[in-house]
């Protein structure tokens, strides 16, 4: 017994030589990726085409790894899905399934140097500034037609051309719609997308706002950064408008307050206001309600739904709560151990779940309106995606495990136009003309 214990424990720990090997590999890998990042990237390298023009974001075979001391954590291990424009996509999964890392990869916010986007692409359709030969933005000037019928640029008193204002009160520049691959994009270029085209709402409203600046300061910052040529007065007006939009009763008062003077729900509203400030095309909400109470959660979800209609954007909602997804999402992506195991419309996933994990997940959650003596439960634990074998990761916990499951990892099988699943149970049921 005791000997057995010792053996088990030994098996459990990394040996010194293994650890050394890991460290060596990690430092080599990290050095490689960091070098890659420092390289100058020409725009041609990251401008691509969308597979489907209806989408706003397409993830394709994304791999994001963390090079940790206990080995390479394949947090995102070949994820492919897309977010159609104007829709809400819910990404569900348990802790450590890579859903948050997927969203951070989209923002290029994976904690470097240990975390790196290794391969794959994240295509995003963005409105980028058109640049002239010198790399400067090209302004759009106010024009008028003079008595001769010629179009002329309007000049101000000092004789300088007047730049046309956009809807937010800033200067208007020539834009072009580009599809960029965020996984290959340099951070420099990424900065003009962050906060302007994609905005993110984080899980912890308590720590996500800088404690030493006022709410107003933190809101204005975004406006001043992304809306060029906007006046101080206009920025403040815009910030207060946003606070009003997210349902804060006393926006002028909150504008002057510090984060610690607000409750969790209020702070999350402020976070949403910050996200909305530049009318982004996509809002990434990483567990926006997990830290909140149920009644406050209901308020925030209500608000998110409300806002999506107003700004005409898309939402990528990351959560572990099936209820939240069912309520919010049009499309659902279920992740397990760094992989997408099933995806489809909300109806597909909730009415007709296919993957044993999805089914188990839904049944193991007690609900208020159902009665059951004993809950269904999935045995075992969520694996830590280190050193994964090449067979279905859910195999050991699966009740429907077949012999085939010991074979290589099953690919995504498209069972209907919208519904795909990665499980051998449904082999042969795929629709060909997807």
């Amino acid at each position: 017994m005791a000997d057995n214990n010792k053996k088990e424990i030994k098996k459990h720990y990394i040996t010194r030589s293994e650890s050394r090997k890991i460290a060596k590999e990690n430092s080599r890998a990290i050095a490689g990726f960091e070098k890659q990042k420092k390289r100058k990237v020409r725009p041609e390298e990251y401008v691509t085409q969308m597979k489907d023009d209806k989408n706003i974001v397409e993830f394709e075979d994304l791999h994001t790894y963390f090079f940790s001391d206990s080995g390479t954590v394949k947090a995102v291990n070949g994820v492919t899905f897309s977010v159609p424009a104007g829709s809400t996509v819910g990404v569900v999964g348990e802790s450590g399934c890579g859903k948050s890392v997927t969203s951070l990869s989209l923002m290029q916010l994976v904690q470097a140097p240990s975390g790196q986007i290794v391969s794959g692409s994240i295509r995003f359709r963005a409105d980028m500034f058109k640049l002239d030969e010198k790399g400067k933005k090209i302004p759009v000037y106010e024009k008028y037609t003079d008595e001769n019928g010629e179009e002329k640029i309007k000049l101000d008193e000092k004789g300088k051309p007047v730049i046309r204002k956009n809807g937010l009160g800033g200067n208007m520049y020539e834009m072009e719609r580009q599809v960029v691959d965020i996984a290959k994009m340099p951070t420099e270029a990424m900065r003009s997308i962050r906060g302007r085209e994609v905005a993110m709402i984080f899980q912890e409203p308590m720590t996500s706002l800088n404690p030493v600046f006022t709410i107003g300061n933190q809101l204005d910052e975004v406006g001043r950064l992304h809306i060029e040529g906007i006046s101080k007065h206009q920025v403040k007006a815009r910030s207060i408008e946003m606070l009003q939009l997210v349902g804060i009763a006393d926006p002028e008062g909150v504008y002057k307050k510090y984060p610690h003077e607000l409750s969790g729900g209020m702070r999350q509203r402020v976070m949403i206001a910050i996200a909305l400030l530049c009318n982004p095309k996509l809002i990434v909400a990483d567990e926006p309600t997990t830290a909140l109470d149920v009644t406050i959660q209901a308020q925030i979800l209500d608000l998110l739904r409300d806002i999506k209609g107003k700004i005409n954007g898309s939402i990528m909602l990351i959560t572990h709560d099936l209820g939240v997804v069912a309520e919010m999402a049009d499309y659902v992506v279920v992740m397990y151990a760094g992989r997408v195991i099933e995806m489809g419309t909300a109806e597909d996933i909730f009415d007709n779940p296919l993957h044993p994990y999805t089914i188990g997940l839904q049944k193991s959650k007690p609900t208020v309106d159902k009665e059951a003596d004993s809950l269904y439960c999935i045995p075992g634990f969520v694996p830590n995606p280190i050193n994964m074998p090449n067979y279905c990761y859910f195999r050991d916990r699966c009740e429907k495990c077949m012999e085939k499951c010991s074979g290589e990892y099953p690919g995504l099988i498209k069972v209907s136009d919208t519904h795909s699943v990665s499980c051998y149970l449904y082999e042969g049921e795929e629709v060909k003309n997807g």
């Binding site: 424990i9 009644t295 406050i296 209820g323 959650k365 439960c377 969520v382 830590n384």
Partner: protein, 415 residues
């Protein structure tokens, strides 16, 4: 040690037969938050403010509420992890709130707790075996010779593998850690286990495992649970009785069926409707509460819920509702369920209290008045030994001044 328990229990045989397994009467826990110059507390956070309930052996009481409602504090105060401010706790007929700390320590194995955060509640530098077994050894629940076997048996019961015995808690996932916590509690052979949000930090698939395990252990070991959670569906699944708390007070209490099928309190209704349902077709008619939960340091007057209540009436802002049995075994604290007489009584009581407060203010004003007069007189006497007409005049003006003051003084307590 076990004999000792029996002795203690038989010492008071009469109440033991009358009382339920666990009775809580008017339990209060105030945390001091403000201090005066000499460090004496002058401002309190009323985390638990007069909670009462009874619990039969083998039953499970679910406590629901949002953060800051005092549910965790209540659990901890019950086990005297915090000092009780006032109120009584009867455990198997014995008033444990009156015991000395040293005596209560001997009773502790009977009442155990499972904590919310499986990461923070395990001492990081002890092995799993040590964590589970150390208290059992201290309370001599197990012989030294059978110690390891006993711990392994408890571990097996909680779904932990034997080779975990010598590992450290940080090597485990949340679910396994929670199992360790449960094993630690059960190793002491308790009768009452307070589960303080045992599953809220866990993944859904793991939650189900833990809940099933808790239910099975209850069946096998005859445990009594107080299950504290913010998750209504979990509470519904596991509880026999349910209590709903809001800002330190119990707003509704009853059997599970009566609470879920015949919800009375508007807060409970809102709470139920706020839970998202994993079904995209169900579009619930949701009651969305306005605003945030008020701070328990400064709770609203009258009914504490009136600031967010959609059925708020005029009376709610002024008078706190009675906590009363609306139907059999179903308690609720809401003016909606008052009979006409009850409302009248409450109004009368309120008037009475107001009158008393006013009288007090009057008295204060009078005192002020006399003080003023004597002060003035004193001032005069210092200058002049004989009371001159001048002094009288001064006193008169003081009187009129004081009378003017009286109005002001009276106004203060009203606000």
């Amino acid at each position: 040690m076990a004999d000792n328990n029996i002795e203690v229990n038989t010492a008071e045989p009469v109440p033991a037969t009358e009382r339920e397994f666990l009775e809580v009467e008017n339990l209060c826990k105030y945390f001091p938050v403000g201090f005066d110059f000499f460090g004496r507390p002058n401002k309190f956070l009323k985390a638990v403010d007069g909670v009462s309930f009874k619990l039969k052996k083998g039953k499970t009481l679910g406590i629901v509420g949002e953060s800051g409602c005092g549910k965790t504090t209540m659990g901890r105060t019950l086990l005297r992890l915090y000092d009780i401010t006032s109120g009584d706790v009867y455990f198997k007929g014995q008033n444990v709130s009156a015991l000395k700390n040293r005596e209560f320590d001997k009773l502790r194995p009977n009442m155990q707790m499972i904590f919310q955060d499986p990461y923070a509640s395990l001492s990081p530098r002890l092995t799993v075996g040590e964590i589970i077994g150390e208290a059992a050894r201290q309370h001599k629940i197990v012989e030294k010779s059978g110690y390891q076997d006993y711990v392994l048996e408890v571990m097996r019961m909680c779904g932990l593998q034997p080779h975990y015995f010598e590992r450290y808690p940080h090597e485990f996932s949340g679910g396994q850690r929670q199992r360790i916590c449960i094993a630690r509690a059960l190793a002491l052979k308790p009768e009452l286990v307070i589960c303080d949000e045992p599953v809220s930090a866990l993944d859904v698939s793991i939650q189900a495992q833990i809940i099933n395990m808790l239910i099975e252990l209850r069946k096998n070991l005859g445990l009594t649970y107080i299950f504290i959670s913010h998750d209504l569906s979990v509470v519904k699944h596991i509880s026999d009785e349910v209590g709903v708390m809001y800002l330190g007070t119990m707003v509704e209490y009853g059997s599970r069926d009566s609470i879920f099928n015949n919800t009375l309190h508007p807060y409970t209704k809102a709470l139920f409707s706020a839970v998202p349902v994993p079904n995209p077709h169900v579009k619930m008619n949701r009651i969305i509460l306005k605003g945030d939960i008020p701070s328990p340091v400064n709770p609203p007057s009258g009914c504490k819920f009136h600031t967010r209540c959609e059925k708020c009436m005029e009376i709610c802002g002024r008078i706190a509702p009675n906590y009363k049995e609306v139907e059999e075994g179903h308690f609720c604290a809401c003016h909606l369920y008052n009979t006409v007489e009850e409302t009248e009584q409450l109004e009368l009581k309120y008037e009475e209290e107001r009158r008393l407060a006013e009288e007090k203010a009057d008295e204060l004003a009078k005192k002020q008045f006399w003080k003023k007069v004597t002060d003035k007189l004193h001032g005069a006497e210092k200058n002049n030994n004989v009371v001159s007409p001048e002094v009288e005049e001064k006193a008169d003006s003081a009187v009129s001044e004081a009378l003017a003051d009286k109005e002001n003084v009276k106004d203060v307590p009203k606000e």
